[in-house]
Each structure stands twice: as structure tokens, then as C-alpha cells.
Amino acid sequence: MSKLTTTAEGIRRLVRDGDRVSAACGLEARIPFSAGHEIIRQNKRDLTLVGPISDMLYDQLIGAACVRALEVAWIGNVGAGLGHNFRRAAEANPPQIRIVDYTNLTYAIGLRAAAEGVPFGVTRSLFGTDIGSQREPFRKIDDPFGSDPVFAVRAIPVDVAIVVAQRVDENGNAHVWGNLGTTGDSVRAAERVIVIAEELVAPDVIRGDPNRTLVPGFLVDAVVIEPGASHPSPVEGYSERDHGAFEAYHRATRTPEGWALWRREWIDGIADRAAYMRKVRA
């Protein structure tokens, strides 16, 4: 049965207030900006965003007050540095968001534990750091088979993973290439999965190159075909990073008023991604 739908319908059906959402799997590439903007338009609330890095998408969700907590390794605007909405929310007194600080590797290890259905993973990172002194995600434990201690990283559960693929069939089997980040584990860890792809292809195309299949369709709940869904982040083989858009966002959002104007122009005033792409190309 076809799982094809629209971003708006997929978000309406599969993202719930209070969810733990992974919308950052490819680090600086394949970021589902269209889905993030739809989450903002639908006014989802109290989300916990997880991920290694999402470039400026998480900054936008924080600015729109969709976010209660962050469990991330890095947050900001990669080309420009900091994310203004994130800073305002984190520096408010009292803070408007709760932050659990990971490192890229410890995030990936916690996510993999969730993807494999075990309670924790282990790492030799974190020794001597203040990150490692956070008790909620990390505990120093003895190696049961040896003498040196290691850090346990608690499994990072995910309610809904939103991932961008290059191509997908109507059952959700998806080919992804370029750097993969944490895409595979995000899908395997999640309770619900939305795949957003540049192209719809026949199942035979997927089966013609199974090593390229990162997402098995049986884990997928919704399939969206939406060219440009990742703009301004790059999709290898389809589009380059639009550096100017990241810089413009950085300049525009220095103040809350600037963010409100940016949001009105690029999110609230836009019906869907097709309209967004027409505006980008205008």
C-alpha cells in the first residue's frame, strides 16, 4: 500500500506535542527544513529535539517556541557561528529550554543503543570533561571484563524521525548517499518515520542497488516527494548548499523582532515547499 502523502499531512498525523523528534541526521546535509517549517505552521509544542547537529533548523524551531528541550552535540548556524534564537532561549532567566549536551560520538552511541533496543552504549570519550559530569545521560562505570572505567551513555529514544533521502519508492524504501551522519540509526531508533525524498522511483530501482538502501520501507510510516525540501542545506546529487541563505538568516535574526519578520516572510506566509522554492528562485 502506498505511503505517499504531503509534508503537512505527515506532520499532522505523525508528530505530536511532547514528542522526541530527530530532524537532524545528515549534520550539515539533507536537513528537513520543509518539515520543520510545517511543524512551526502547525504550532506543535513541547518537543524535545535530538541530533548531533542540525545547522539552523533547530534554531528556527526554538524561535517558534515549539521546543521544550534539546539533546544535541552542537547547535547554531554552521557557516555563521551562533544561532540567535538558541542563544536567547538558553540565556533567558529562567532558561526557556532544557539542554543536555552531548558530543557527536556520544550522541551517536546513545542513538545506536536505542536503535538496537539496549539500555545504554559505552564510550571512552568524556574523561576529564564537564560534559561527562551530566548524570542524566552519562555514568562512569567499571568495565565488567577489565579494570579501566568507561562511560555508559543512556539510550536516546526517538518518537519520530524525519529523514531526507535522494530517492524512495512508495513503500518507503529509500536510497541515501553522500555522508550518512546518523540517518540509519535515527530511523531504526524511531517509533514513527517520515521519509522526504527528491524523487519517487519504482521498487526495481531500489532493488537494483540494495547497498544504497539506508531505510527499509517496513520501518516507514509516511513518504513525501518534495524537491527542495532541504533547501538551503545540500542534497548530494541534487542541490548545493545555499550559503547566502544561511548568512541572510543570521543577519535577519539578531533581534526577536527580526526573527518574527523572517518567520512571517519564509514560514507563515508560505503555503508549502513548492511556494517556498518559487520564492527562492524569484
Partner: protein
Amino acid sequence: MNARLLMVVAAARQIHDHEVVFAGMRLPLLGFAVAKATHAPNAVGLFENGLIREIPAAGMVVTMGDGPNQRHATLATSLIDVMGMLQRGHVDVGFLGGAEVDALGNLNTTKVGSTRLPGSGGGSDIAAHARRCVFIMEHERRRFVERVAYVTSHPSGPVTLITTLGVFALGAGPARVVSLHPNVSRERVAEETGFSLDYSGEQTTPEPTPAELEAVRTADPTGFWTGASQ
């Protein structure tokens, strides 16, 4: 000779031939390209987003996910695969930067006072597992502190710190001056450094060779990173 150019070349010289490098972004990534083009043609670059490269990117790269950094990679895989190799001990040298550094080589990229910064990214893991680290930073007193406010990254090996003023060695023992850039005085360095320095081995940072300059121009043709405006 502008400081950025000296820093890129100094970074390149930290990479030895056949080494495995966590090259990061910005100036270190240029340093990797310069090293590959000059004295270290067999160096291998690892990227935490899941890429492994044996040849530098052909084209301007702002983030490691950019098209030019993806194309002609040798391997494109998952974050945990590449960072797992780092944890396993396969990386010789890792490049990092931060808001604050102290004489022990600790880096802070998380928070200073009420100011919230972006966080570790892969930095803390690189510091923990690379055999040695190279930090690249603006040399300012507010950044060079006795003790960092928050330890994001704690290096397990020796640290070479390349700044806008010179090259320094951090880690075991007191912080040492390796070299000061041409026309930089000890007084200027002391003003901008919040911890004491041992000058006994001080030299002058060598000027780039013609081959290194040529390699920088190839890797940064528009001078975006190393031009006079920087």
C-alpha cells in the same frame, strides 16, 4: 604577511606524510589541502559527518557537508563509523578551535558566564582520542585563561596551539612558546595571554615557502579565508 596565511601554513606543517587527520573546517581544512599539495601527499582526512578523503576538495567548502567535500571522497558512511575509528586510536592529529583555552589544553565551546555557545560537536571526542591535537584560535586575553569556565574538551595527548600571534605547546608542564610570528613582541603576547609562558625555546615562525604559498592560492583562490581582508 597576514596572520591567517601564516596560521594555515603552520597548520599544514603539523600534518606529516601518511598521517590520518581529523581536519575540521575553515583554516584547518585549508591546512590539510596545503599539506597534501606539499609535504604530505599521502595524508588521509576524516570528517565526522561520515566522509574520508584522500584528495582535497575541489572548490570552496563552508561546511563539511558541502558538495565539493562530498564529491571524490574515498568513503561516505555514518558518523559512528568514522568517529569509532577515532576512538579506536586510528587518528594521528585532530584540529580544533574554541572560545576559551587554558594552559593545560582544555577547551571550552559550551558556555562562558551567561553566554551560551554552540557546544562540543565532535571536538570533545577528537581531543579525547587523537594522538595529538592542534588548536587554531584568535589570540585574545578573554580566550586565553588560567582555567576554562567549562571543560568541553580535555585532550589526552600534547597540544600545539596556533594563534594570530604565534605557535605554542600546551599540556604537560608549563605552556611553552614555540615561535612568535614575525614582528610580534613578547609584550604583545603577554598582554593577550592569561597564563604564564616559557619563552626559553622561542623562535620566529618561518615565512611560507613559495610552494606553500602556491598551495594556499590553489586551495583558497578568492582569498576568502586567507586574503588581506581577513
